[in-house]
Amino acid sequence: MNAPPAVRRTPPGPLDYLGRWPIRTWLILVVIYLYAPLITLMAFSFNDSRRNIVWRGFTLKYYAQTLADSDLITAFANSLTIAAVSTVVSVVLGALTALLLWRFRFPAKPALEGALALPIVVPEICMGVAMLVFFTQIVRWPTDLIWPLNLGAIIISHISFSFSFVAIVIRGRLASFNRELEEAAKDLGAGEWRIFRDILIPHMRPGLLAGALLAFTLSLDDFVITFFTSGPDTTTFPVKVYSMVRFSVTPEVNAASTLLIVLTVALTAVALRLQGADVARAETGEGL
């Protein structure tokens, strides 16, 4: 990028907007705007001062306090459990939906597509209150069940808003499927199940993975809908952090947030790497 400008830009590339200083400055300012708050948050979780504003030296004591906070750890375990279960179910439901819409022509198809778009477009707050009413008035989800069954109401809500997103991702992947492979398999005597297992599923794998990552992040990230479906014994990490941040900015919250940021970034990095390798393999036909 930073090659000697006088040599490479004679004449300057007319569309090399990234190389022009106004655009470049703008981009740098936007990146600072997006990252400065998060980076200061992370940096000050290591700051040895409660006032959280002047650097007083490096410490890990807020991490020790965070990890000793059993409420926070419970909430974190709840969040991971909810995300894991909701991801598995969302991927199954999303894959079925994608296959259904990709393969079949049926009378109510536009209506179903519209209904599936609803969880994506309906404002979170509306879905939150709908779930609150549903789980208190219609199906009373017992709150005294043993862990993790007491998380059922939250898990169900998360699946409801996740699986449409997963379906979109997988459907996009299916669009690139080469039908001739299926026909060839059929000619060679493979049955419906065999084609599904040995040809369709391998082709869908990058989509399944991307969908799973999306579902996991959506679940881990959700505050509003969980806020309405969680009870005193079923808090998730965001709900717990919310109750901590409402009135003050403390180093403990900084430490807890930093842990979550690092977890999500690591997860995304792993998924991107896996997916990249998977896509590359699928594109060279190796995975088929």
Partner: protein, 301 residues
């Protein structure tokens, strides 16, 4: 591709059954209940009678609540406009970057989006509060300036921290912060598909960069602009967390009022009516987008 469902009924049922049942039982039914509640009244503390009354909707269009709805629309509109202005140059920079830096830039813009919304909002609280980083920095400069002017016999008054948090400014600042990646991605997707030779032709024929931008780039990017506006506007109208944590008493948006009806005021039918008003606004926004898209298609774009 388009196999009739009648040719493989068993497979069709296996694919269709679970998602359709799930969607109906755990999404459509809860929404239908809220819809029914919006026509009900509080018969007793715990029971809601669905009487078909329109009182909740009439309650919702009183000036107090109309004002809050208007404020929500104004905040969301302002947020969307700011995201568009801030995000467009970013999308252009990404589009015309080399393949390698393009991937990195996209990741750079997307990474905050993968971070928890609550944490991002909390990070802004730490930046904006009276003892936050912005005020600390300003105070530092002010004191330095004070020392300087004191040399000339004009000491400055003590630094008064700016009230940056718990007001309307903080809400819009936070909404832009949260929504910006949503705007950049569709813009980038549209610009990336754009035929570069058109831009080059425009520049060759003597148009400046700004003219090319206004007369060639923007018209061609309209589909991306429209979907960017939609994906920024809709979550902004219904935003709960941002006004709740960054806003003050006078910057509450419609979602905060809905939450209060369900959690503290205990007026579920009224809250249900407000929820559906919010949902109708969302549907209107989507319908407008669909009409714009169809209009463009009809004109052969």
């Amino acid at each position: 591709m388009d196999e009739s469902w009648k040719r493989a009924r068993a497979v069709f049922a296996t694919f269709a059954g679970p998602p359709v049942l799930w969607l109906a039982a755990f999404f459509l039914v809860p929404l239908a209940i809220i819809w029914a509640y919006s026509f009900g009244d509080n018969a007793s503390l715990t029971r809601i009678a669905i009487s078909g009354t329109l009182a909740n909707y009439i309650h919702a269009i009183q000036p107090l609540y109309l004002g809050i709805i208007a404020k929500s629309l104004w905040f969301a509109g302002l947020t969307t406009a700011l995201c568009l202005v801030i995000g467009f140059p970013v999308a252009i920079a990404i589009t015309f970057a080399s393949e390698k830096s393009k991937a990195w830039l996209l990741l750079l813009i997307m990474l905050p989006f993968w971070t928890n919304l609550l944490i991002r909002t909390y990070a802004l609280m730490a930046v904006l509060r009276t003892e936050g980083y912005i005020n600390f920095g300003l105070g530092f400069f002010w004191t330095g300036l004070g020392h300087l002017t004191a040399l000339f016999g004009h000491p400055l008054p003590a630094f008064q921290p700016l009230e940056l948090l718990h007001n309307n400014f903080a809400v819009v600042f936070g909404l832009v912060y949260v929504q910006l990646p949503f705007m950049v991605l569709p813009l980038y997707a549209a610009l990336d598909r754009l035929d570069r030779s058109l831009l080059e032709a425009s520049l060759d024929l003597g148009a400046g960069h700004l003219t090319t931008f206004a007369r060639v780039v923007v018209p061609l990017a309209v589909p991306g602009i429209v979907s960017g506006i939609l994906v920024t506007l809709i979550p902004s109208i219904g935003a709960y967390l941002t006004p709740d944590l960054l806003g003050g008493p006078s910057s509450q948006m419609i979602a905060n009022v809905i939450e209060r009806q369900f959690k503290t005021a205990n007026d579920w039918p009224f809250g249900a009516a407000l929820s559906f008003l919010l949902m109708y606004m969302t549907f209107v926004a989507i319908a407008v987008q669909a009409i714009v898209a169809r209009g463009r298609k009809a004109r052969g774009r």
